[in-house]
């Protein structure tokens, strides 16, 4: 698991992930996301919040991997580590298997051949060179084919992945049961989402097989060198067919072409090929005609052939497969169901901006409206009680005196109240209203809302002039909606002789 390899340990402050993503991390992520999804949304968020500040990552996949190191509960972290160890164990197992197989195969060939007097160079080439090389070529072709097939219509991904999944399940029999169950749970999901996980399964198998192939070559090489150093090997070749040594030499020379320039002795000469051919039935002095050392002269060729065709290709393929696997693992990490939601949760601050308590009681408009009148008609009718000069109070400089006189005529008394005026000046206006007997008009700005300051003034006016004199609130400007608001608000004064008029003028 990456926890070990990246040097990260739960508990340290800020974690930055290093190294390439691994398949075991995908398994771990699926398990961890399962655990996360079982939490309530608030618990999930609280945990993400606690973890987010400890993660230092730019890419989504890095963030997920870092989260994997600190996010899961200790119990799950242990399970994830076990999965990682199981993967590492399988990898090691494949390597050991390859090494042992390689060693044993080479040792068997050389030992059996040695005891029989001749080590068949053809058998050595077939089992230690051609077979590993061919398996390497076949596995690469199959792997590339599966990658290409995923891009073209054909069998669905699930069908294509079935073989590799079966093989993987077989391999998993080697790991402890608890870990196997974890991995198999993920594989079960892989069946449902084969398109997502199948390439990864194939890639992982390819990687393990490449490991095994590499170590097979290494084992074979080591065994060959061991036998060369510690025993006397007599290589030879024979055939029932009538094949001239020249033809055999052309084949081995072609095989030895990659290193012939560097190490000429490792490219068998025609003389060597001819001298090491043997027959069961010999016509003359037999083997004694060729010096014994000549039979061993094949070993440089055999060693180089194993190195070049069994070890080197795997050595080259392994990082390619590893890189591809890491890239696929990175893609799968990002697109694993639930991963994007986790990334979002880790990277998005949780905003709460709503009021902590519910909205309290709100003010409601009263039912009913004060009557609306036409001001000129109201004044002309003498609704003011008498036909005396009207008193117009300009509230908060609602209208200029000149404008007012041009609109209503000059026979009126105009005074200011509200706005910049003091309360004492307001009181003086109320007093004046009490003394005059004419109609009372209070001009206000229609676009401004009726506030208690004005309502207090109107109430004071009413108290001063008595219950019999009508008062008209004259709205200067304002929209019909504003007028409605005024009419409703003035009802709160409960004044039966209060009315409202409007003057739709453009305000300066």
């Amino acid at each position: 698991m990456h926890v070990g390899s990246s040097g990260l340990r739960p508990g340290s402050e800020v974690r930055r992930i290093r190294g390439r993503p691994r398949v075991s991390e995908v398994v771990g992520l699926v398990l961890a996301l399962d655990e996360r999804s079982a939490l309530t949304p608030s618990a999930r968020r609280a945990r993400d919040l606690a973890v987010a500040s400890r993660i230092d990552a730019r890419q989504d996949s890095e963030r997920l991997r870092a989260w994997l190191c600190v996010g899961p509960t200790p119990a799950l972290a242990l399970r994830i580590r076990r999965v990682a160890r199981a993967f590492a164990g399988i990898r090691l197992g494949f390597s050991l298997l390859g090494l042992v197989l390689g060693w044993c195969t080479a040792a068997a060939l050389l030992a059996i051949g040695g005891s029989a007097g001749r080590v068949s160079i053809a058998a050595c080439l077939a089992l230690l060179v051609v077979l590993p090389f061919a398996s390497c070529v076949v596995s690469v072709v199959l792997w590339l084919g599966s990658i290409a097939a995923a891009r073209f219509p054909g069998r669905d991904a699930g069908e294509r992945a079935r073989g590799s999944a079966r093989l993987l399940r077989l391999v998993l029999r080697l790991v402890p049961a608890s870990t196997r169950l974890d991995v198999e749970a993920v594989l079960g999901r892989a069946r449902a989402q084969a398109g997502l996980y199948a390439p990864l399964q194939r890639g992982q198998l390819m990687s393990w097989l490449s490991q095994a192939g590499l170590w097979f070559g290494c084992g074979a090489l080591a065994a060959t060198l061991g036998f060369v150093v510690f025993t006397d090997l007599a290589f030879g070749w024979s055939t029932t067919l009538d094949i001239a040594p020249e033809r055999v030499q052309r084949v081995v020379a072609a095989l030895a072409r990659p290193w012939a320039g560097l190490w000429p002795e490792a490219s068998p000469s025609l003389e060597l090929v001819a001298a090491t051919r043997h027959f069961r039935v010999t016509a003359g002095s037999g083997a004694g005609a060729t010096p014994p050392l000549v039979y061993g002269a094949w070993w440089p060729f055999l060693v180089m052939a194993i190195g070049c065709y069994a070890v080197l290709p795997r050595l080259l393929i392994l990082p390619v497969v590893g890189g591809w696997l890491a890239r696929e693992a990175e893609r799968v990490l990002r697109f694993t169901p639930g991963a994007s939601e986790l990334v979002l949760s880790l990277t998005t601050p949780q905003l709460e901006s709503r009021a902590e308590r519910a909205e309290g009681p709100v003010g409601r408009a009263l039912a009913g409206m004060v009557p609306e009148v036409e001001l000129r008609a109201w004044l002309a009718r003498g609704d003011g009680g008498t036909r005396r000069q009207p008193l117009v109070v300009g509230w908060a400089e609602a209208v200029a005196e000149a404008t007012l006189r041009s609109g209503l005529g000059t026979d009126l008394r105009f005074v200011d109240a509200g706005g910049r005026r003091t309360l004492a000046e307001d009181a003086a206006v109320v007093d004046e209203a009490r003394q005059t007997g004419g109609p009372l008009v209070v001009a206000v700005r229609g676009h401004e809302p009726p506030i208690l300051d004005l309502l207090d003034f109107l109430a004071a006016l009413r108290r001063a002039v008595g219950a019999e004199r009508p008062i008209c609130v004259w709205l200067v400007g304002g929209s019909p909606a504003d007028h409605q608001i005024w009419r409703r608000k003035l009802v709160s004064l409960a004044d039966p002789l209060l009315s409202m008029a409007k003057w739709e003028v453009a305000l300066a």
């Binding site: 998005t348 601050p349 949780q350 905003l351 009681p361 709100v362 003010g363 509200g418 910049r420 003091t422």
Partner: protein
Amino acid sequence: MPSVPVPRLAVVGHPNKGKSSLVATLAHDDSVAISPHPGTTLATREYPLRVDGVHLYSLIDTPGFQRARQVLAWLEERARETKASAADRPRLVAEFVAAPGQRERFPDECELLQPIVAGAGILYVVDGSVPYGPEYEAEMEILRWTGRPSLAVINPIGGRAHVHEWEAALGQFFRIVRVVDALRADPATRTRLLRAFGELDAAWREPLEQAIAALDRVREVQRERAAGEIAQLVADGLAFFVERRIGPDERAQSHQAELAADYQAALARRERECRERVQAIYGHHTLEALDARSEELALLEADLFSEGAWLVFGLTRRDLVTAGAAGGAATGGVLDLALGGASLLLGVATGAALGGVLGYLGAERLPELKLVDRPLGGRVVRYGPSRSLNFPFVLFGRARYHWRLLSRRTHAMRDAVSLEPAPAAALFLAPSDRHELERAFARLRGTSRGVLARAEAVQALAGSVSAILAEDDSQSGEIG
């Protein structure tokens, strides 16, 4: 927790000047009571902004001033009696709030001054569409007496006719004056307003900057998530088809009308689902009920395959021909390259001509009906997926339009939405954006197999969509 005191801002002013609207917009809370009737807000209500549990600032909605002159008179009288200096004024305001009987006589003023006395900053709101009046002076004078840092916001509720007049008046009482339309304040405006709060008190700057960063990030994430939803919608739309098994003697054409209806209904459902998800991302839960009242939304309600929708949201024939020709030329160019130029650019010419013709024909709105033989026998008649070059643009255009509507909608808006600018201008696609979308759509069409390849194609499209939405997001500003 921040070591500095949490900034608290009391939003105060005359009744009905948009205080609650401003609070609703800044607090992203559509539960704030907003009404044209004065005196709707009777009690203060605090809206704390917490980021990951850390309290960064609070907005306090307050009732409007009702008897400001009387309060000021009380304060002046008290100052005279106690021979108080200017330095004592904040104490006098506190005394006013605490004095017995004041809460009964001046409930609104006590309620609104309480948080200020307790240390909140002042956000004084006026309406820039009506003229300045002397009745505001007592309010501003009281606020000056509190000695608290203050900022004035001109909220042009019904227009900007008197904004300059207000700026001149407010400038005498407040160091900072900003113009913010509470109903239409875009995120950038909100950010600038928060930054202006930070100018009131140096100690507030840090938490407010943290809040701005968090709000920006949330906005970005919302946009990315919306882009992801839109990209997924387009991807699903491009791959979507309906099919029906038919008998050996049945005619495929006899199923066309029914299949077309199923196809369109399913896509409409998918589109609606996408809209609901995008709305949920932006935390708007009340828009759906208002859809029918908006003329602009009628465009979205129109059938996806209607001529009107394709005229407004699709590419023009010319764009389609250009797009087709460009794609064809690119394909032909590959052939020319493969032949080492021996074809004398015939591939490019032929590809462009063919692509242009296909592009022209690609304007067709409805997909074709196909008869498909099943591998195990039997036949199905399949309707879709759409091969029209225009189809993903229409789908994207409608989703983008819906997103614009939502993303610009503030939580203060409680009635029909009007979208500005007009759709045609709002949905302009820069040629580079269009080409990027064309590429992303083509990539989506080419990945019918391979979950990862498709997911990556959707992600790439989401990236392109997000860039376009980010550009849309940046095209506004409402602050002076």
